[in-house]
C-alpha cells in the first residue's frame, strides 16, 4: 500500500468487522510513543504483515513492549498513528477493536481463586452485551480455546495453583476465546523453562498454521524468533534497525550493531534458520558494562 492510499483510508469512518477488507495488517506511521517526557519510540514507520507470525526483538529497553502497547492502544501515541488494515485503531470503538485484536500482556493479574474456565470465559467480554445471555457460540469458543491450548483438563482448577507453563497456556486460551484474527503476545516465553517455552511457541505456530491467526510477539531469544517467525522486526533505541524475513535480516553485522555482541550466525542445524552463536569472550576482551 502506498502512502497516498494509506492517507486516503485513514479517514474512513470505522465500520464494524464485515465491510472492511481483513488482512490483519498492522502499520504505524511516524509513531511517537512516550512516557511523560521520555521518548521511547521515535517516529516509527512499520508494516507488520497480515497472515504471518511476526517477532519483535531488540535489546532491553529498546521499546519492544512499549511498541506493543502502542499497537494495542494501551498507550496513546504522542504523534503519528497506528492502523489496522488502514483504519486508525484510535478511531475504532473499543469493542470492535477487541473483536479484531487480542493481547496477552507481559504480567497479567490473576484474580484470586478464579478457575481456568472462568478465566477463559472472560475472553468473551467483547462479544457480549449487558443483558445478553451466555450463548452456545460463547461456550463453543471457550471450549475450543481450552482444547486448543490443552487446558480443558484443567478447567475446574484455580489458575493461581497452576504451574507457570500451564498458567501461560490458560492466559493464551483467554486470548483465543476472544476469537480475534490478530493476536499480540508480550514476551510469552519469559519465566518459562525450555520445554514450556517450546510448548508455547509450537502452540503459536499451530495457531497460525491451523487457525489462520496473525501473530505478533515480543521475544528475547533471537534463535527462537528466527525459527518461529516469518517476519522479524528489530528495534534499537526506539527506532527500526531492520525488518524482513529472518534469513534476510539476521546476520552478524546486525547483532553487533544492535546488541553490541560479536557473533557468528550459522544455519540452525534443525531448521536451517539463522542461529546466533556469540563469540568467545575472554576476560580481558569484554566490553565494559
Amino acid at each position: 500500500m502506498t502512502s497516498e492510499q494509506l492517507a486516503a483510508t485513514e479517514h474512513r469512518v470505522p465500520r464494524d468487522d464485515a465491510s472492511a477488507p481483513r488482512r490483519n495488517e498492522l502499520s504505524t506511521r511516524g509513531l511517537d510513543l512516550r512516557y511523560g517526557d521520555r521518548v521511547i519510540v521515535d517516529g516509527l514507520d512499520l508494516v507488520l504483515p497480515g497472515d504471518a507470525i511476526t517477532a519483535i526483538v531488540g535489546p532491553n529497553a529498546c521499546g519492544k513492549s512499549t511498541l506493543l502497547r502502542g499497537l494495542t492502544r494501551l498507550l496513546a501515541p504522542a504523534g503519528g498513528s497506528v492502523a489496522l488494515d488502514g483504519t486508525d485503531i484510535h478511531r475504532m470503538p473499543a469493542r470492535a477493536l477487541a473483536r479484531r485484536m487480542g493481547l496477552l500482556p507481559q504480567q497479567p493479574v490473576t484474580p484470586e481463586a478464579i478457575t481456568v474456565e472462568a478465566l477463559v470465559r472472560l475472553g468473551r467480554y467483547p462479544h457480549q452485551r449487558l443483558l445478553s445471555p451466555w450463548s452456545t457460540a460463547d461456550q463453543a469458543a471457550v471450549d475450543a480455546a481450552l482444547a486448543r491450548t490443552g487446558t480443558d483438563v484443567l478447567r475446574e482448577q484455580p489458575v493461581d495453583q497452576l504451574s507457570g507453563g500451564q498458567r501461560q497456556r490458560a492466559w493464551i486460551a483467554l486470548a483465543l476465546a476472544q476469537d480475534t484474527d490478530l493476536l499480540l503476545l508480550d514476551e510469552p516465553t519469559t519465566f518459562l523453562d525450555l520445554r514450556h517455552q517450546l510448548d508455547v511457541l509450537d502452540l503459536v505456530a499451530e495457531l497460525h498454521a491451523e487457525a489462520g491467526r496473525t501473530v505478533v510477539m515480543v521475544l528475547h531469544d533471537l534463535g527462537q524468533a528466527a525459527r518461529y517467525a516469518d517476519h522479524l522486526v528489530v528495534l534499537k533505541d526506539g527506532q527500526l534497525a531492520a525488518a524482513g524475513a529472518p534469513a534476510d535480516v539476521l546476520d552478524a553485522e546486525l547483532v553487533k550493531s544492535v546488541f553490541d555482541v560479536d557473533c557468528r550466525v550459522i544455519p540452525d542445524p534443525e531448521s536451517g534458520t539463522p542461529l546466533v552463536i556469540p563469540r568467545h569472550r575472554p576476560a580481558g576482551r569484554r566490553p565494559p558494562v
Binding site: 477487541a98 490473576t110 484474580p111 484470586e112 481463586a113 472472560l122 467480554y125 519469559t190
Partner: protein, 341 residues
C-alpha cells in the same frame, strides 16, 4: 509471572446450581433478621403481635412501637445496609484493592465533617436536616479523592486508596477541631457521628431513594466490566473495556450509594468492607453475583449488628455504627493477615 490480586476475583463457573440455594438462604436469613429487628428492643414484642401490627392493623402500645419505630428503623436498615454492601463491592472492584470501602475512600469522613460544620454554623439539630449536607460532604470528599488519584485521564487504584485514607484522616481531625470549639456542636453531632438507624423516620429515607436506585443501577451495569478489570488494566482494555470510564462510573455508583447511606444513618463503617468478603467465599468473585450477594449481605450484617446493639445493654442500646465497628475490627485484622500472607 502473574501477580495475584488477593480478594478480587472474577468469572463464574457455568453452573449456578449451588448459587441459587445460597442466595435463597441469604434472603431467608435476612427475613429472619428483619423479623428480629421488628420484635426485639427495649420492649420485646412477640412475633405474633408483630404480624398483627403489620398486617392485621392491630392498635395498642406494642403495635405502635412496631409500626411507628421499628418498622421505619428496619426499612432504613435494609436500605442503608444494601447501599453500603454494594458500594463496598464496587469500591473493591474498581480499585482491585480488598481493603477499599466507603470509609477508606474518605466518604464517611467527608459527610461527618460537612454535618458538623452545618450544625456549628447553621444551628441544625435534626437528622432530617443533615441529609443533604451529609450527601454533599460525601460527594465532595470522594470527588477530591478522585482528583488526588487522577493520572493521565485515568484514576490510579493505589493512589485512590492512599489519597482516600489521607483525606479521611485530615477530615476527621478538622471534624474534631470544630467539635472542640463548640460544645453545642459536640452534643448535637456525637450521636449522629456514631452512626445509627434509630429514630430515623422514613422521611429521612425518601429524599435519597432516587440516588440509591440510580447508584444501584450503575453498579449493576458495570459488573461485567469489573470482572474484566480484575485481570489488570491492560488485559481489560485489550478486551474492549473502556477502563477509565468504567472506573469513573464505578466511583459515581459508590458516591451515590455510600453518600445516600451516610446521609440517612451517619457514618457506619465495616459493612461496606465486610459484605464483599463475606460473599466472595460463598458465591465466588464474579461481580455479577457478588453485587446481588452484597445486596443481601449488607443489610444482613447491618440489621444483625443493630439488633445486637439493642439487646446487649438493654434497656439502653448501642448505636449500630459502634457495634459494627466492634465486630468489624477483628474481621479487618483477619483480612490484613490474609492479604499480608
Amino acid at each position: 509471572m502473574s501477580k495475584s490480586a488477593t480478594g478480587v476475583a472474577a468469572g463464574a463457573p457455568p453452573t449456578s446450581a449451588r448459587r441459587i440455594p445460597l442466595l435463597l438462604a441469604g434472603v431467608a436469613l435476612l427475613a429472619l433478621c428483619a423479623a428480629l429487628s421488628l420484635a426485639l428492643g427495649a420492649r420485646p414484642v412477640p412475633l405474633s403481635t408483630v404480624a398483627d401490627a403489620l398486617f392485621g392493623g392491630a392498635q395498642g402500645k406494642e403495635a405502635l412501637v412496631v409500626t411507628g419505630l421499628r418498622l421505619p428503623r428496619t426499612v432504613v436498615g435494609l436500605a442503608v445496609g444494601a447501599a453500603l454492601g454494594v458500594a463496598g463491592a464496587v469500591a473493591q472492584g474498581i480499585t482491585r484493592n480488598p481493603l477499599a470501602a466507603p470509609t477508606t475512600l474518605g466518604i464517611n469522613a467527608g459527610a461527618g465533617f460537612a454535618v458538623v460544620v452545618a450544625i456549628y454554623a447553621l444551628g441544625l439539630n435534626q437528622p432530617v436536616q443533615y441529609v443533604w449536607f451529609a450527601f454533599a460532604g460525601a460527594a465532595g470528599a470522594m470527588f477530591f479523592a478522585l482528583l488526588l488519584a487522577r493520572r493521565s485521564g485515568d484514576i490510579e487504584p493505589v493512589r485512590l486508596a492512599l489519597g482516600g485514607t489521607v483525606l479521611q484522616l485530615v477530615l476527621l481531625s478538622w471534624t474534631s477541631a470544630v467539635m472542640l470549639a463548640s460544645e453545642r456542636t459536640l452534643d448535637e453531632a456525637r450521636f449522629w457521628l456514631a452512626g445509627s438507624i434509630s429514630e430515623r423516620p422514613l422521611d429521612v429515607l425518601y429524599p435519597v431513594l432516587p440516588t440509591l436506585v440510580l447508584g444501584l443501577l450503575v453498579a449493576l451495569a458495570v459488573t461485567p466490566a469489573l470482572n474484566a478489570l480484575a485481570l489488570g488494566d491492560d488485559s481489560a482494555q485489550a478486551l474492549g473495556v473502556p477502563v477509565a470510564r468504567i472506573r469513573l462510573a464505578g466511583a459515581v455508583a459508590v458516591v451515590l450509594l455510600a453518600g445516600s447511606a451516610v446521609a440517612v444513618a451517619g457514618p457506619i463503617g465495616f459493612i461496606g468492607l465486610a459484605a464483599p468478603h463475606l460473599v466472595r467465599p460463598l458465591l465466588g468473585g464474579d461481580h455479577r453475583l457478588l453485587v446481588p450477594g452484597c445486596l443481601i449481605a449488607g443489610p444482613l450484617l447491618l440489621l444483625a449488628a443493630d439488633v445486637l446493639g439493642r439487646v446487649v445493654i438493654r434497656p439502653s442500646e448501642l448505636e449500630v455504627g459502634i457495634v459494627s465497628a466492634f465486630l468489624g475490627a477483628p474481621l479487618l485484622a483477619l483480612l490484613a493477615r490474609r492479604v499480608a500472607r
